[in-house]
Structure formats: C-alpha cells, structure tokens
Amino acid sequence: MMTRKPILSGILFGLLILIVALALKFAAARHLVSVDMPMRAIQILVGLMMALYGSAIPKKLPRFREGDNGLVQSLQRTTGWLLTVAGLGYAAVWALVPLSEAAGWSMAVVGAAIALVAVFVVRTHLAQRAGRATG
C-alpha cells in the first residue's frame, strides 16, 4: 500500500492520527486515560509512520542505466534501514521514556539517523564521481 498509493496512504495515516488524538483527548478529559497518553500515542504513531515510509524507500528504484553498479540502490537500502530503525526508536522512546525527556531523546535518535544518512549520501556521491573519473 505504502509504495503503490503513497498519497492515499498518507491521507489515511493523517486521518488515523487525528482520530486517535481526538479520541484520547476526549478520554483524558473524562479521566479515562492519563493526561500524557494523547501526546505519547500521537508520537508513537508518528514514529511508526516514519518506520513505514523508511521501509518503503528501497522499493523505489532509480531508473536503470547500462553498467549500473548498484551504488544508489545500496544507499537506498542503508537509508531505508536507518530511517526504519530511527522510526521504531522514536516510537519506543515516546512509549518508555518519561515525558519530560522523551522529546530530547527522540529528536536525538532521528537526528543521528539523518546525520548518518547525510554521511552515506556524500560517500556515495564521491564513489560515483570516482567511478566516472576512472571510466
């Protein structure tokens, strides 16, 4: 679903987040769940969405070229793994860490993943340039 209908899946996920947020706010106002539950649930959903989108990255193949050495594909796989693990980590932080510290830790997890992705992008770019230079 994620790869074939990205717009529809994005809209459905957005609706799911809105419905869960409203339902939990309603429940918290009536003391059915704790007051921090709506925030935690939304952030866990955001983390799971990041993991799902990260998982789908390697499915979107670059256009095939003669003599393709698989460097871009390898970068896509690495990026997919990093964002999937970061998304799951983000969700785990919001599920387990005290609310006052969760924002900082979750941002650290995602920030570290994005920094690593940037490093791999630069490495791949340099390797491709070196490959082109040597013919």
């Binding site: 998982s55 390697p58 393709d68 698989g70 594909q73 997919g80």
Partner: protein
C-alpha cells in the same frame, strides 16, 4: 503479501535475493550460481518478479535483475533464512539419528 511469503519460502529464491544485495546481476550470472537448468531458474525469477521482490530490465540481449525489497521484506528474508538454517539442521540431525538407530 501471500506472494511474498511464497517467494521467500524457497531457499533458492532466498539465495537469489542474497546475491542481488551486492548489486544488479544478469540472469546468466545468477543462474551460474545454481546447479539448476535455465527453465527452472527462469521459473524462480518469475515468482520473485510476481512478488515484486525483484525488478527486471532488458539490456540488449541480456536480462538484468535488481533487488526490490522493502526493509520489512528484507527482515522477513533474514528471518526465513534463520528459520531455514535451523530447520535444515534439525532435519539433518534427525536423519543422522535415524541412521544410527537411535530415536
């Protein structure tokens, strides 16, 4: 999803996916790694393509395959491999025990 499980259930197809992790390969390069006939390998490639786990491109007279695994499918592949190795070991030890005459 059923097609994915069917594709990952076979050790030959799992090995093809593992080989493609190192980059795109032609049908010939992949077939050379296995003791099977070309039609058999072609059938395996078709199952993988129908499950959307590989991408096929024609380049002149050769057919090039590329990996098309999501991270979830990649994790499933690793899991299926691990389970496959364990079940092969269990089957082998059972058959050795049967040959020795011990239950």
């Amino acid at each position: 999803m059923n097609a994915v499980f069917k594709a990952l259930a076979d050790p030959t197809r799992r090995r093809v996916l593992e080989l493609l992790k190192s980059g795109p390969k032609t049908a010939g390069e992949l077939s050379d790694q296995f003791p099977f006939s070309k039609p058999t390998m072609s059938a395996h490639f078709t199952v993988l393509r129908e499950a959307d786990l590989v991408d096929m491109q024609k380049s002149g007279k050769t057919v090039v395959y590329r990996l098309k695994l999501s991270i979830l499918e990649d994790a499933l592949l690793s899991f299926a491999d691990a389970v496959g190795v364990v079940s092969r070991n269990v089957t082998a030890s059972k058959s050795r025990a049967l040959k020795k005459g011990t239950p």
